[in-house]
Every structure is written in structure tokens, then in C-alpha cells.
Symmetry: D2
Subunit: 379 residues, 4 copies
């Protein structure tokens, strides 16, 4: 008789009202594999306690800062064993390193840190720690992305030739940061977001997704970053060309000013024997064209879908799953790893990790340099 | 400081492995408004306890039958206050009536009962009980369905003329019941499913949805039911024409043998001033054409969307929500009602209820009669 | 060395300004297989001659009535050998019979006549005449409809179970006939259109297309016709259920008041082994789902497309062909038949003919009777 | 009484069997504004005469070379007044210059010439000639592209920020030139195609379209050209970034090896106040999103469409027009200009001309230089 075991989780950031904190909580809850037991929700203790109450956390386990939480939770028999970090970007690094030092596993929002140097330090720290570090590149959790990855790995498209990734939004088409919209304020502030604007916020997702599906990383890139909105301090649009060691070529377009685009992440990959096309806003569908044959529409849990994709699926084909389910897939796999780590070794399998985080910061750094110099740069 | 309150819920049916039981559990958990505390998961006590363990229910609160559960839970201070019924159809009625008698609120799968007579009895029982009875017509929980309903009510399409509803699947295109597939076995068995096959299983959803959005109910129908698969005892396809007192006309097509259709529920409504079109497999999109103007694509949480739709939404536009979120919306609203009922009166608002359940059985009954006689019948 | 031969054609109706006349002229011209040499364009001789000038017809070959034209053209060595009839419906029958009597081949707009009796007489006339009679059910000319027909005939969907045909428009959602819009005036006038409104104008197309693709004709139908627009004398919407001798079932929805629909003809057919789905507004695409396999997107001139479909195609896949090309396919095939008839026997192959026209009038008649009686009727 | 006047046209290249020659003939014929009277169809006189016979050209007006044709036709009262050039690229320039010198108007396939120097010479020649020179950038003929152009000009998207153009095909994913496929052989041969492969064949279309719609031309570009197929002598894929004087940015992706793409040209333009999106394979639809409002689907001849778009339309909305109709729109406008030129001055209006051709060669030249140097270059 298998008894359901749950991971005890603490949260840093994500007080009630913060979009991404609530997303993490829903994702953690969906499969009942986590119990949120503690948190540092706000620098202001009064607001922090109010958040905890609204979320349903015991007032005795709301802390004023991470160090206090790590110390207190480490002393409890039923203390948190993992922490999730959902603060603005510049706070990720220190919190993650302290958590690892205190013996906690870490689930962390992307980009991993605000600077490349910090990312290097953290990645090294993770390697030494023996702890689990999961970076929530949400879109890797979609079943049909798992399907695409499996198909590329199985040679279904042959040798990779072309990668076309796009991540287009329009919510920053106007200067929302000047109107005080919270998510816009910190995302356009170099002190909090780091030196990448759109490229850090969403470009890292597109870049990570391309690597996740193709299994290849580019060696060089050329980028052209723009801040279209007057007074904006970070990029809100970027065109990027990629070159791979294999000879493959790629392109990433990132924009937060493309009017008519909500959260339009897409990936198309073409090889010698076939092509695959996917769009996040219709995530249940993966288009596959074998060379010389009709285009096929593969659907989550439908005909032709591999076990690796089925394993991340909850309901039958035709009953749409979406963003929260993709997110919950990362949490489910993180729970598997953390529970395995209780008694022995763990395997992160497909989960994005600190090395992915480091690559994300390398992307931002390379884009900034290339855009300034107008040249191809190594990544 | 608002403290999160949660409804204490017990489940009847839905042992681990049952598709719909797990869907209800995820939906109940998603917004953290319910705590699943007890259950009767299986007629076999050993399997029932195993399910409880897997689900994470205290072994002391797994019961061998409903009556035992009602009695025991009613005695506890922390006992369940609501039950959810996810058994095969023929068991809904008795369980629901007993639960109401024992003072529990009820959340029930559709169709409400296996027979019209039983539905009448249950609906009367609900009216007398003062308890909450929610029928999980999941699709009414979609935000863009709420949007459509609000727009029709606000006169955006003018006077209703035409309703086109479809619910097409293909999973019963072959005789799965003869191969022992569990969901197919009971759904094609009149003793367990009632006298409606496809018409009961999915036709009631399409019918309910049309009424939910238009605010009108047909007075007469003509139906042609077919069992295409050799040896099948219930219908697996139905064509239905509808007439409304207002002069509006409608059509419902229901099929479980339409190869290429997964869970293809769609609704199109046309009036004197506009048209609305929605498809469950792309549930984030509602197409609106005002007479003489371009077609508009309304998206969940996007421009032009009313508060009633936004209220059932968790993440920004472009981050797809789906079936589980729609289901969770019903649970969230049920929690609101149940918590309100703790201290006073409640309001089911848009939630499907026993009257909807009664109409669903009236649909099945009328379709069977019309199909046999080849005539229009009153509904 | 093959020298291009062209059919000499005369037109009845379709003076400049008439939509459908110009469509026929473009279609006849597209493949350079016809030469329009004569015509009766208008009852008013002055306007008729003006039309001829604008169209580029020799003034000496504009006639004031059909009989004069038939006589004069028959005397010329280079006289017309075929006539195309594009008048309002009530004039088709007499013109066609006179043309056949005078020895001309006939291309005729649908519906074939205004009454069933007249259709019977004309069909009999055609059978006796030995002449070519082509009814321009345009939509049968689409390459992907040819593909669908070939696939059904080849058994790709197995035994037919379900036919879902729709033809929805919105241009008559308002009483345009009361505002004097010419096409609306005659189409809603029983004296000119016959007794079918939407059912005659577009329902016959949907019905014909279903028969063309499936190769089966229903034996019984039940119809519910409505005139939604106040004061309208003919139906503008119809729901129809179909029963086939094979046990297959079908449905046709026809509407000219469905706001948001331009010329939304669609056909879906489902059998024991597969399903096919096609939509006139995206005519290059045919969706094919083999039972248990992923949905495939077949495209005109693309992979998996049969010769019968390729033969009706002019440009490569991805260079959209449309309505005029479909129309021109009928003309091209009519030219083949007429040129063959010059020297011997001809074969109409897939071309819609007088028997199709008769079935169209049978449909209208049956729908009217069923709608009035509320009963299933034989067709 | 207006009498239809027709332009007398001669063709160079495009013997029977050549794809693009037949496309031009259909386009010229569609609106009955041209009469094809003469031609040089093939270097081999026997095959040239056979082509003429098949096409329906008088054998006395088939010529063995351009100079003979120009001389003979110029002497006739009913001689050709315009020539259309549909040879491989390297022959365009000389033929066009000779035609202009002989007093003929010219309609010419793109790219205008094989080299930039030749393009400069021809453009200068055209300026001096007083003759009409039309470059058949087909896609500018689509009604919804005219709509997009008009909307941008009217300020509907505000100040331009981003241009995303793509032209993806897959027909050269394999080395067809080594298998002797005629269209592949010359298109991959630098001596016949010029120095641009995909960039010349289709990149020039995408580039032209972007300029046509936005009214802006980039000042700098960065390109990365690839020949993916082993042994191919010209590029079959290109990633290009664009910079505009206005500060706008752009991207063009061109590929002939992207498996699953037929003729997938698309254009998306985003400004401060709105966005427009169009795809050649669904050419009837233009998506317009005004900032902060729902996305609208504008359809050819539908609501919200301007006169400039309606003027290039033949049939009502919902009756698909396509590639041949777009092509015919250029011919129709060329006929208007040529007929006007008979008696006075002409206006090419929206028609692509020699300046566009020059810009196309500038694109190819700049792409080659940038791709070799890895730097931004002026265009």
C-alpha cells in the first residue's frame, strides 16, 4: 500500500497579490506532492503575516528574513526541506546560495541571477552542494514539448538545420513602469531585473526551450536589442541570430511591444528529415511534417504520442491542459527528485537546472555585447 | 486579516485509477478552498483503503458505505460538511438523497440520475433540503463561456435566432465495451448509465451549455438516435433539432464515433445583432461578430472581457487555462456557497444545480421518445 | 502538334453588373478553353447591347431573346455550340429545354429549375437529347473535394456513418429585399426563386456536395425551415436530418442569417475507419484522420494527394487557389466533354448533371413538406 | 457605351510546360484586359512553335528571338504593345532593355536582373524611356495586402516599430538540382539565377512586401546565408536583421529547406498603436489588433475593408480568391496604365516598378556582403 508522501516547502517572496507566487503555489498543490509550510513573503512583517494568513500558513512559520527561516526550519522535525524563490531577479542568487548552505533543496524562478558572475558562483555552489536546484523554465513542462524533444532525440527530423524561436508579448507596448504597475517597475529596473529586459524576462525562456527540444546549444550569436518605449532603461525587443557548431542556424525574436501578442512563445525546428512546430498559446498541438509526407497534428495524449509526453499529462486528449499544468509538471518531477534524495541519490532528468540558468545569463551577456558592438560573439 | 477557510469534503466513488475522481480532487485542490477528509472509494474495503492511502486520506476516515460515513462524519467536530458523488450514474440519486438527509451539501457528477423519475424526486428533495446541490457541468466553468453568457444577457447578439451545439468524440468508434475498457463498459450499460448513451454522457453537457449561455430552454425537440457500433446497447450518435418558445431554432449533434474528434464540444449562437462562437478545445477564445462589423477574437483576461469572466481566471491572457481550471471554477464557487451557508444564506449564482440536472434527464427522455416515434415532442 | 481548340459559347442572362454572370465568364476564360461569342444579356435591348460591348461581344451577336439567338447561331459556321444559363431560377427550365431542342449543349446555374415538375421534365429532356447538360455546383470543382471523393471511394474512411454538412451565410440577416438589393429581391421572391429560399439557394449546394463526396443519397429527411426576418416570404434558415439506406445518418444546417458567416460551407464525413473534414473558406486543406492515428492535413498538390485532385490544380501547393479556380475546373471539364462530343461520344465524369439537378429539386420539395408536417419524409 | 479594350501582349520565355509562363497567361486572361498575340517561347524553333500552337498563338507570330519579334511586331498595326519577360533571371535585363528601346512597355518577373549593376542600368533605362515597367511582385496584388498598406498609411498602427517577414518553403530540402528538376537546376545555378539563391528567389518578395506595406525601407542589414544542402552553390536559407532610419527594426527569415512549409510567406508589422498580421497561405484574412482592444479579423470585401482593397476583388467575401487573382490584379492595373499611355500619361500607382527591382538587387548584394563579413552593412 503506497502512502502519498509530500515535500515540505518554504517560499521566499510571492506574497499574496504577486502573480508568480500564486502560480507556484497552485502548481505545487495540483498533484498534492507538496505541503507549503513556511515562508518569507514580504520584507514588511505585517504584510508578510497577512499573506501567510491568506495563503493558509501557520503564523508561527512566517519569517522576517531567509536566514531566520533557514535556522528555524532546520531545527524542526517537520521543517521545510526545500525552498522556492520567487523574488525579483536580483535577490535570487543570495537566497539560493544561503538556502543551499543551510541544507535546503532549491526551486528558483528564472533568470537564475541578475548577473553572469553571480550565476557562475551559484552554479558552482550547486555543483558542490549535492542539493537539488530546479530552475522553473515552465515551458519545458508542456507535454507536447516533451514530445518534440523525444522526437528530435529519436532522429525524427534528422540532422538539425534551422531553429526559429519567438516570444512576443505586448503588455509593455506603453510605459507602464511610469504608471507604477508593479511587475513593470521592477522588470524595467536594471538594479532589480539585471541588465536584460525582454531578453532576460522572456528571451531566456525561448532560448532555453530551443536547447531543451533540439539538444543543441549555439556557439555564436548576433543580437540587436532595442528599447522602443521612450525612457525605458532596458530592452523591450530583440532580434537574435544563432550559429551552432553542427552548422545549424537559428533565430530568436523577443518582444514585449508587439501589439496583438499575448504570451506568444513559439518554436519551430527543421531538420533534414522533418519539421516540428509548436505554439504556447495552443500547447496541446504539435505539428510534425515528415519530409515528403502530409503534415500531422499530434495532440497531447493522442495517437502517436510517446510515453515521456503521456507521463506529464493528467486528462484525456481534447480536455485542454495549459500553463498551470505545465508548471505543475515541473513541481511533480521536483517532488520525485526531492523524495528520492531523502533516502539516496536523485535524478533531475529533464528538469531545467543551474547549468540552464548559467546558459541563460550567458545569453543575456552575449546579447548585450553583440548588440553594442554590432558583431557576432561567442556564447 | 483574512484567514483562508476551507470546506471539509468527503468523496463517494472515485478510487485511485478512476479518471473523474482524480479530476475532482485536482479541481478541489487547485484554489486551496477544500480539504478532502473522508471517502467511500470502493465497495471492496481493501481497495478502498489502498485508494485512501494513495490519495492521502486518514485511514480512520475511509468508510465501507455512505451511510456509515454520513453517521461518523456527522458526529465529528471536524467532520465533512459536503460530499462529492462520482460514481456511475445509477448510484447518484440514492447517494445524493441520503447525503442531503444526513445534512450534507452535495456536489454531483452529471447526469444527475439514471432516470427522469429519480431526477424529479432528487430535485424535489434538494428544494426541500435547504442544502447546496451543485451539478458539475464542467464546461459552464470556462471563463469565455461566462463571457458569452454575459454578452447574450447584455443584448450583444440581440434577439436569439439560432443555436448550433455539437459534442463530438471518437473514443467509442469501436466496441471498447466488448474489450472490457472500464469507462466504456458502464457507459454503454443501460443498468448503470441509464437509458441515454452519448446523449446522456455528453449530450446533456451540450444541452446544458446552450441553455447556460442563451438563457433560453427549448420547448420541443426532434431527435434521431443511433447505435452505430454493432452490439452496442445505447446510442452513440444523435442528431437533434430544437424549437424555442421565442421562435429561435437550434440543433445539437452528439457523437462518440466521429473519427478525428477528441472532445469537440462547440457552441455557436446567432441573434439579430450578432453571433458568438466557441470551441472547448480552444477554450480561451470567443469569437464575436457584431452585425456589419469585423469578427473579433475575445480572449480570456484580454481586452473587452467582462468582470464575470475575469473572476474565473487565474493567470494572464496568453497563459492557457483549460479543463481543470474550468472545473476548479465550479469548486471555487461551490466553496463560496458552502462557506456562506455556514453562517447564513447562500447563492449558487451561475452554478449548475438540481434544476439543470432535471432538465438533463428531460432531454434524455424526450430524445428517446422522439427518436422512437419520429416526431417532435415537448420537453 | 496539338492546337488549342476552344468551345464557342453563348450566354443567357448575366449582363454586366450581375455577379454570377461575370463569375461564369472568368471561369470560362481562365483555361482558354472557351470563346464567348454571343448572348442574350438583358430583356432590354439597349442594356443588352451595352453589356455586350463592355464584355467584348460582337454587337451583331447580341440577341433580344433566346429563340432568336438559337436560330441565328445555328445557321453560322462559327456559331455557338453551347449555351450557359445564368438567369434567375424560374427562367432556367424553359431556356434549357429550348437550347437542347435547338441542338446546343447546356451549362446551367443551380437550382436547375424553380419547380420539381419542371426539373423532371428537363431531366427527361436531357436524357433524350444526347446533349451535354452541366449543372454548376461549383464546390464540386475544388481539388480537395475531388480528393475527398476519391478517398471515400477508395475505402479510406470505411463504411459511412455520419455526414455533417453546413452552409452558413449572414448576408440576409436583415431584410435587404425591402431595401431593393437586387440579388436579395429575386432570391426571396417565390415567383422567381421557386419555393426554396436558403434551402434552394445554398442548401442544394450542401446537399449535392455531400452526395458527391460520399457517393450515397439519403432516402428520408426531416426538415425545419424558418423565415427569421420579418416579412420574408421564403426560408432563410433550415435544420435538416438525413437517413440513408445504408444506415448512415446525416445533418445539414443551412442559414443566411448566421451573423459572422460569410460563405461558410463545410462538410465532415465519418466512417468506420476514418474521418474527413473540409471547409470552403479554407478550400486548400482537407483534414483526414485514420482511425487510431494522428490527424493529417492534406493540401492541394501536396503529399498524399491523388491524381484526380492534382488534375484540377493549376499552381503548386501553397499558392492558394479558390472559388474561381474551382468554377473554372467545371468549365475545363465541360470543354473536354463538348470537344469530345464534336466527333463522338462524351463522358461527363464527375461533372454535376441533370440528375443532380433533379435531386436538388427533390430536396427542396421534401424539405417543404417535412417542415410543414413535422414528419420524416421520403426523398 | 464603353467598349472593352485589350492590351496586345507578347511573351518572352514561358513555353508550354513552364510553370510561371502559364501563371502569367492565366493572370493576363482573367479580366480579359490582354490579348496574347506573339511570343518567343523557346530557343529551339520547333519547340517554340509547338508551344505557340498549344497556347493558341498564330504561328506567324512565333519568333526565334526577341529582336526579330520587336522588329516584326513594331511594323504591324495590330502589333504587340507590351512584352512580358518570364525567362530565367540572367536573361531579364537584356530583354527588357531591348524591349524598351524598341518602344514596348515591359512586364518583368523578379528578380529584375541577375546583377546589381545590370539592375542599375535597367532602372536608368526605364527612367529615360517613358515606358511602363512593371515588376511582378505578385504578393502586392493581394487585396488584404492593399488593405494593410492603406491602414499603415492611415496611421492605424501608429509609428512603426517592428517588421517580421518570413518566406519559408521546403521544396529544396533535398538536392533536386542533382536530380535534374528544371526549376531547381536554374535557380541554384549562379550563372542563371544570379548570386542570390533563396534570397533572390523569395527573399526579394518578402523584402518588397515589407516595404510595400510599411512604406519604409531599411538603411542597414545584417544577414547570415546558408547552403544547407550539400553541393548546393547558392543559399537556401537566410536570417536577416533590419534597421530603419526611423528607429524601427525588422527581421526576415527566408528558407527553402524548412520541411512542412509550402509557400509560407508572412508579414507582421507592429507600431505604437496597433499590429497587423497576414499570411499568404490564408490571404483573405488580415488580423488587426488596435492597442488595448480585441484582435479583429478583417476579410476581403468584408466589413471594415477600404476601397483600395475592394477594388482588387472580384467575388464576395467568403468565396476565396488566391494567388492567380492577386497576380491578375497586377495585370489589371498594368492594363489600365498601358491603355492610359496610348493616349497620354499613365500612373503606375501601387504597381511594383524598376525602383523596386533595383532595391531587390540591392538586398541580394547587401546580404551577400554582410553574410561574408559578419557585419552590418548599408543597403
Amino acid at each position: 500500500m503506497t502512502v502519498a508522501k509530500r515535500v515540505r516547502l518554504a517560499m521566499i517572496g510571492g506574497g499574496s497579490g504577486a502573480f508568480i507566487g500564486e502560480v507556484h503555489r497552485i502548481a505545487a498543490r495540483m498533484d498534492n506532492r507538496f505541503e507549503l509550510v513556511a515562508g518569507v513573503f514580504n520584507a514588511d512583517p505585517v504584510r508578510g503575516r497577512a499573506s501567510a494568513a491568506a495563503i493558509g500558513i501557520d503564523q508561527g512559520r512566517v519569517y522576517e528574513n531567509e536566514m531566520a527561516m533557514f535556522a528555524a526550519e532546520a531545527r524542526r522535525d517537520d521543517g521545510a526541506e526545500a525552498v522556492v524563490i520567487v523574488t525579483p531577479n536580483h535577490l535570487h542568487g543570495a537566497a539560493a546560495m544561503a538556502a543551499l548552505d543551510a541544507g535546503f533543496h532549491v526551486i528558483c524562478e528564472k533568470p537564475m541571477t541578475a548577473t553572469f558572475a553571480e550565476a557562475e558562483a551559484l552554479a558552482a555552489h550547486v555543483r558542490r552542494s549535492g542539493k537539488i536546484f530546479v530552475l522553473t523554465h515552465t515551458y519545458t513542462g508542456y507535454p507536447m514539448i516533451r514530445q518534440a524533444r523525444a522526437m528530435v532525440a529519436a532522429g525524427e527530423i534528422g540532422t538539425l538545420r534551422r531553429v526559429q524561436a519567438e516570444y512576443a508579448q505586448d503588455w509593455l507596448a506603453e510605459p507602464l513602469e511610469h504608471r507604477g504597475v508593479p511587475g513593470a517597475v521592477w522588470r524595467t529596473d536594471p538594479a532589480k531585473a539585471g541588465l536584460g529586459g525582454a531578453i532576460g524576462d522572456i528571451g531566456t525562456h525561448a532560448f532555453n526551450l530551443a536547447g531543451f527540444v533540439t539538444g543543441e546549444q549555439p556557439t555564436h550569436l548576433l543580437a540587436d536589442l532595442t528599447s522602443f518605449v521612450a525612457g525605458r532603461r532596458l530592452d523591450d525587443d530583440a532580434g537574435i541570430l544563432l550559429r551552432y557548431a553542427s552548422g545549424a542556424k537559428g533565430s530568436i525574436w523577443v518582444s514585449q511591444i508587439a501589439v496583438g501578442n499575448g504570451n506568444n512563445l513559439s518554436l519551430r525546428v527543421y531538420g533534414t528529415r522533418g519539421g516540428l512546430e509548436w505554439r504556447q498559446e495552443a500547447p496541446e498541438e504539435l505539428w510534425f511534417t515528415p519530409l515528403g509526407a502530409p503534415k500531422q497534428l499530434l495532440r497531447r495524449n493522442g495517437a502517436g504520442v510517446v510515453d515521456a509526453a503521456r507521463a506529464t499529462s493528467r486528462v484525456p486528449s481534447g480536455h485542454p491542459e495549459g500553463y498551470l499544468e505545465a508548471f505543475a509538471n515541473l513541481y511533480r518531477e521536483a517532488a520525485d527528485a526531492i523524495l528520492a534524495a531523502r533516502t539516496g541519490s536523485f535524478d533531475l532528468r529533464a528538469l531545467p537546472n543551474a547549468e540552464d540558468g548559467l546558459r541563460g545569463l550567458a545569453l543575456i551577456t552575449a546579447c548585450l555585447r553583440s548588440s553594442e558592438d554590432g558583431c557576432w560573439v561567442a556564447i
